[in-house]
Symmetry: C2
């Protein structure tokens, strides 16, 4: 069921250093474009799931959605240096390529028509040089070359503690969208601010691959036993830390319950804060906030749920468990109403 | 010979306020995309000439080149607010749409095959709202939405006196490229820094429409009698100013001659400066500089022409004639060697 229109060319397209894979691997834009061109000629829709590798079931929920909705599915695995500040964990970020490729090779989804079983069609594994032809420095002050910034939407919420993070994300995703030219793209709700910024990026730059309506936000995958949002950084947690980690989601759920009961934002935040404080000294709340899903501005302290409001509100937070910072969010309102 | 695959739809695609035109006019991205999709299905190449209107023979040299090299040619006419600083001439920039459309309707070029005569196929005339869905403020400090910056290449030469100019250019051209998805794009050498920045933008963002090799720099169109570079801003010149305006080109030509004779940059610049000073007090030199065509950094004062150097050097300058600032440049070396 694999889509291998260019099988004879594959040997020249992959580098010898890559692990074996039954899925075609592409390390250059030029090589991938030949594959893409064949798919276009054959009128195949292409779903795209960008990742930094270290795949877990959260990623796989995006892959399954893409497989179900597209003729072909492409993943990228690229740890993007531009979204790590100099003091952050670029060097130690988990890299598990052989395992990632095994997981992908085993992925199978029945097509919506029911007629066929689909699995991922291609993996794009570019080098840093391929993605940053003008080079890339960790220090933003000396960076040269093209950068994309979504001004006014990347300095609150997560952007507060990571000032150039969303510039790095917007830049690399612009490049990936241009390289892959997907029909549909899939991002996890766990990184909700990223999703909203990228939708705006597509709208503002008049992009057709994908247009903002074809950038899909997939609900956060959670541990079914305790609701912890799946994340590559959960691997950093100790056994005790793992037990405390679901506290953030519990706090958000408490705030959601208060919101639905009609309490103002300030009370909802207090209820969430109390949940984290009740969990003991080993966890520390970074922030809980409610933001307008369109402007990303915090909603006023006195704001409360009204039946008339149709625009969703983002309830999000970050919490430290030891040295590990976890994030999570709940959309108050209809996720599908996010433009 | 006009390409009108969507003739029946045109009435709904154009706005009533537009002047009459035999060329299809598109005011929205959505409407243009239908046209573009038909061209793609028919396997037609699409050449693109972005303009701010006020068309003169400099623009038409780009149009003729595009007509000769592409099945279809699209122009855009859009006065881009993001590239005007609050104190600059956005409000008074010449707008001559009815005349522009007449000029375009009269343009005819024989196709390279000789079999047919081609004329422009479509004009894209978007509103500011269409190009800036998140809105656009003149003041960069309060701007919101997506902006594209080519860091390290827009703060020297012309960027020195216009600090956010190239950010505005890179942003609008990114949008236009995404809206038009051209096979080839044509820019005038007169704005050489713009050309080099946009080539880098295409390379850095891994763009396919166009890729950097399909972004063409067309030699500057000049008044055949005195060499003055054609420019929409020449319309601001008085009769006396018009007579003095070619001084800049004469100064650049003097520097070129010195360079070719083996003089170091410092001497070439002095020779150019002397030409402007000799023209009297009505003209005032802003700068003359020689820059590396790859890095855009000024070449060292002692640098001189060597046979071994294959990378072109940009000799450029700006000069005031009364209240009007004129720019011009000469590429020392082979324009086609610019990547």
């Amino acid at each position: 069921m694999l889509y291998h229109p260019l099988r004879p060319l594959l040997r020249t397209m992959t580098t010898a250093a890559l692990p074996p894979s039954s899925i075609p691997l592409f390390t250059t834009v030029a090589a991938f474009r030949q594959w893409r061109e064949v798919a276009r000629r054959d009128n195949k829709s292409v779903g795209f799931v960008p990742t930094m590798g270290a795949l877990h079931d959260g990623h796989m929920s995006l892959v399954r959605r893409s497989l179900a909705e597209n003729d072909l599915t492409v993943l990228s695995i690229f740890v993007n240096p531009a979204q790590f500040a100099p003091h952050e964990d670029l060097a130690t970020y988990p890299r598990t390529l052989p395992r990632d490729l095994e997981i992908l090779a085993a992925a199978r989804v029945e097509a919506e028509s029911g007629a066929s079983v689909r699995s991922p069609s291609a993996v794009f594994l570019p080098s840093v040089q391929e993605m940053y032809p003008s080079g890339i420095h960790q220090d933003p002050a000396v960076q040269k070359g093209t950068f994309v910034e979504v001004k006014g939407y990347g300095d609150q919420m997560e952007g507060k503690s990571r000032p150039t993070f969303f510039r790095g994300v917007a830049t690399v995703v612009t490049k990936l969208f241009n390289a892959i030219e997907p029909t549909n793209a899939y991002f996890g709700q766990k990184d909700i601010q990223q999703c909203l910024i990228l939708k705006r990026l597509c709208r503002d730059t008049l992009l057709s691959h994908p247009d903002p309506a074809h950038l899909h936000i997939v609900p956060t995958a959670r541990d079914p036993s305790d609701g912890l949002a799946l994340s590559s950084r959960n691997a950093y947690l100790s056994e005790d830390g793992r037990k405390l980690a679901p506290t953030l989601y519990k706090a958000l759920a408490a705030a959601q319950q208060s919101w639905n009961a009609g309490h103002p934002k300030s009370v909802c935040v207090e209820h969430a804060r109390a949940v984290v404080e009740g969990a003991g000294a080993a966890v520390r709340l970074d922030y809980i906030e409610l933001n307008d899903s369109d402007t990303l501005e915090p909603v006023p302290d006195a704001a409360r749920r009204t039946e008339a409001v149709s625009k969703p509100v983002i309830l999000s937070g970050a919490m430290w468990v030891g040295q590990t910072r976890l994030i999570d969010n709940i959309v108050l309102g209809d996720l599908n109403k996010i433009r």
